[in-house]
Symmetry: C2
Subunit: 192 residues, 2 copies
């Protein structure tokens, strides 16, 4: 990415394509978007599209991939050892990361069902959580633990998604605290 995008022209065309892609995605489902229409909207030669992407799905994948790499960088900054202790801060950081990338977050939440991004996020967090569990407890009760980990990870990601759909208004710090309570204490405090 660094090597290739040195050229201003490349950055410009990619940006134009992405903007038009976002607009189109707000109008119709992904499978109805054609290269022809996209490039006409962006006022880019159709051939140029194929210099950068294989097809529409490749474009979508690249966008999600880049967002995902940034996400990994964010949670990497918290080290692997203290995920449990810093649960609240990590979650808050993720919420605030999405807020900073509002434009893409909205694009992704426009996909009718799940996006690749969130699916990657789920398996990444699952992987990390599982390895931490095994580091601490070995393989004891690992099946139940796997289901529970899967349960809470999916829960958190779904919180992220509905938070986005609600307009990202609630404070990231509060959302992080909420997520932590859901994960560690269940519904106790919510149901009273």
């Amino acid at each position: 990415m660094q090597q290739r995008d040195r050229d201003r022209r490349i950055r410009k065309t990619k940006q134009l394509l992405r903007r038009s892609f976002a607009v189109l995605l707000a109008e119709k489902p992904l499978e109805d978007i054609t290269v022809k229409e996209l490039t006409e909207r962006a006022d880019i030669n159709r051939g140029t599209f194929y210099c950068h992407y294989r097809d529409i799905y490749d474009l979508k994948d690249q966008i999600e991939r880049e967002l995902y790499e940034e996400f990994v960088a964010v949670i990497d900054s918290y080290g692997v050892d203290n995920l449990r202790q810093e649960l609240r801060s990590v979650m808050a950081a993720v919420f605030s990361f999405l807020q900073r990338n509002k434009e893409f977050a909205v694009i992704i939440s426009n996909y009718k069902a799940d996006s690749l991004f969130f699916s990657w996020v789920r398996s990444e967090i699952f992987r990390r959580g599982l390895s931490e569990w095994q580091r601490i407890y070995g393989f004891r009760d690992s099946l139940q633990w796997e289901y529970y980990l899967d349960f809470v990870v999916a829960g958190c990601v779904s919180m992220l998604q509905s938070w986005i759909k609600k307009g990202m208004r609630d404070d990231p710090e509060e959302m992080g605290a909420l997520a932590e309570r859901f994960i560690l204490y269940g519904p106790g405090e919510v149901l009273g």
Copy 2:
């Protein structure tokens, strides 16, 4: 559905198309499957396909829609009043429902990310849970409750999905009990 599918010919072609669709889906992603290839595999005239479906996505939607309607019938049999009391049984029933429809369940879990079925299931359970909450508690703390409900619903659905991917081996009754514990008591018993 009842009116049209009286004719044996229709049932037969639809079945053939679905079988070939399942096979193709195991080979390649949905967006790479063409009507032409599908009908050739099924040994059905291409024009016949268009008598029943608008396009590939319509075929996929109809399959998921039918499975979803059966699902709704299953949870409807538990009445709306006692969702909370019968949590375990309802969840067990859902697990066992998917086990009975193994073939379709596997098809759906083959979609990388975009299964309409599970997305419908999520919003349906969410809707029911929310209305039950409001019936019992009014609108008190409804925001936190909404996030928590979203959290656990997504968690349960994700349990279903990973259970399918593990081969549906664990007993539906046990899975139902596990889900209930996760929902009501959080990780307490799992983490010890």
